[in-house]
Symmetry: C2
Subunit: 166 residues, 2 copies
């Protein structure tokens, strides 16, 4: 008798309240990155991802996230962020900046909009000036910066660690 | 004066001891997945990734991880895992199994080999029976399972959260 055997189709965790985390993405160059973010969001019970720029999902990568996560496409992020702030979201950027907080030290408010930068440019100044907080993921070695989908997935994981029940 | 401004080329965190985390991968079908794992490993100061199967790195994805992380290629994982165990590593699988522990509840031993399953099949029984522990990442929604590189990155993040100094 093996101590560890596969559990296929294990039922997911239950949320006692709906996830209040929203992901808002700067224009991403690589469709694979947005698609990976959508898959992670779906797995984590995130209900909405906001995207900008030329948006196309790769379904092979996004999987059921493509149908279970609402993808909202905006022409520009700053007006959308102002609207989110009016709707009560705390705007948390994911970036290495002055005054940024290491990801695992940051106590996320339940109603968080995580604002993700583009692959090369990161977050624009127009976005940065709207943020309430910035979290950064520590790095210890080359290439000194995570892929944007990897970083976003780590941040979603950390949020869910803090809010296992929603 | 903006509160948050980009820090380019921010110096990485310092490790007081070398990272003792090692990643060992089942044969992965997708070169992008191994390459993503290598990039994350590099950023986190992980020094060795063990791979099996048909191994090829996509440098555009792996970035400097391709040169800064030692990639060891094995023809089969179980003999390599037995060797790691003899060398003092705790073998921790990343999988949904009976007796698996939620990732953030698991206190990693410093000297951990994280054993990663293949995209479709997960970990083989021959690997599972060698493991000391299995960690699983909770999911709350469809598609109910993370991409292997995403899951591995979350697990590396969690290990580093527990060992910020190495």
């Amino acid at each position: 008798m093996l101590k560890f055997t596969h559990i296929r189709q294990k039922p997911p965790q239950k949320l006692t309240t709906k996830r209040q985390l929203l992901i808002a993405c700067s224009p991403l160059r690589t469709h694979a990155n947005l698609s990976t973010i959508i898959r992670t969001a779906g797995c984590c019970g995130v209900r909405e991802v906001m995207a900008t720029g030329h948006v196309r999902l790769i379904e092979r990568i996004a999987r059921d996230g493509a149908t279970h996560v609402t993808l909202t496409v905006k022409s520009s992020l700053p007006p959308a962020l102002r609207k989110l702030k009016r709707d009560g979201y705390t705007l948390v950027g994911l970036e290495q900046t002055t005054n940024s907080t290491p990801l695992s030290d940051y106590a996320f408010p339940a109603k968080t909009a995580l604002i993700v930068g583009a692959e090369r440019e990161g977050l624009s100044d127009a976005c940065l000036e709207l943020l309430d907080a910035v979290v950064e993921i520590p790095v210890w070695g080359m290439p000194f910066s995570h892929n944007v989908a990897t970083a976003t997935s780590m941040a979603i994981y950390e949020y869910c660690r803090q809010f296992p029940d929603g």
